[in-house]
């Protein structure tokens, strides 16, 4: 493990030390945080490795040409519908949408589609929407979806225009 790796795990090592000390000195705050950490880690293990394997398979199996045609710069309005449908199947949260979006972008999807996908993945994930409808009401869910989706699409188009004018390039090293 070189110095750079050690730096990446710096916070984690610090956290491990903090938790150990908390248990030794019976510090409640540290123990409570550790409980949360354990629970959230277990939740992540339930799907994260599978998601990354799926992303890997997507990278090797799906042709760039297919993505470019349906989600690329010259794709039509249908591409927004694909992006929103795809976002509905996202599991977990935004943190899962980022690596998926990154893979799509590298395969030739346009920036507006990427941002539509991320935005929609935040608010239209199917299991979450069902939860919302049952606790807060279907009317609320429908109002929220129908007001936010157009805003997400419009802002994605504007963000793409802005980033293109600034010559935005996506980083390649970490996630490749």
């Amino acid at each position: 493990m070189n110095l750079n790796n050690l730096r990446k795990y710096g916070l984690f090592l610090f956290f491990v030390g903090f938790v150990l000390l908390s248990f030794i000195f019976d510090y409640n705050v540290g123990e409570g945080i550790y409980d949360n950490f354990l629970q959230f880690t277990l939740t992540m293990i339930k799907f994260l490795p599978a998601v990354f394997v799926l992303i890997g398979l997507f990278d090797t199996w799906v042709d760039r040409e297919v993505i470019e045609r349906h989600l690329g710069n010259d794709s039509n309005y249908l591409s927004f519908i694909w992006a929103i449908l795809l976002s509905g199947t996202t599991v977990g949260g935004l943190y899962v949408a980022f690596p998926v979006a990154h893979s799509l972008l590298k395969k030739g999807a346009s920036l507006r589609i990427i941002f539509t996908y991320i935005g929609a993945a935040a608010i239209c994930r199917i299991p979450m929407t069902l939860f919302e409808a049952s606790y807060v009401g279907i009317k609320f869910t429908l109002i929220r979806l129908f007001t936010s989706i157009p805003l997400i699409i419009i802002s994605s188009i504007l963000l793409e225009k802005y980033l293109k004018s600034r010559g935005y390039q996506i980083s390649d090293d970490l996630a490749s």
Partner: protein, 159 residues
Amino acid sequence: MIYLLTLLLTIVLFIRDREKTIAGVKLGIKKLIKNLPVFLNMIILVSISLYFVSDELIVRFLGESSGIIGLLLAILLGSISLMPGFIAFPLAGILLDKGVSYMVIGGFTTTLMMVGVLTYPIEKEFFGVRVTIIRNLISLLIALLVSVLVGIFYGEIII
């Protein structure tokens, strides 16, 4: 569930093309290992925030507020916390029972879902600092607009 699906897909693809499938699985595992520290950092941040911004705290802060102050508070709390849907929506239900307006609940849940202060380390890794900041600011604005629209639809804001 998702493991079963992934396994089935991998088997089907493996039968169709061995090399491509093995390369894909290897690539996925490589990416997972590369991204592990970023995800670990996020989990740590979330466990700390969940401890300090607890359900009780949110109910206490939002339970008695409404109007503009309540909305701003809701947006702030939603932005800095991250919780799974099965915690967030029952919580929203509790707030609703306490008489919190739909507008405030909309602000809380929308920022909770779209604005990620805690997912910043991950987002920046994939899309860079500038895009991450812009996207989160836009999301904040969208959340504000959406909650005002929710308020109008429910007649909580009279225009």
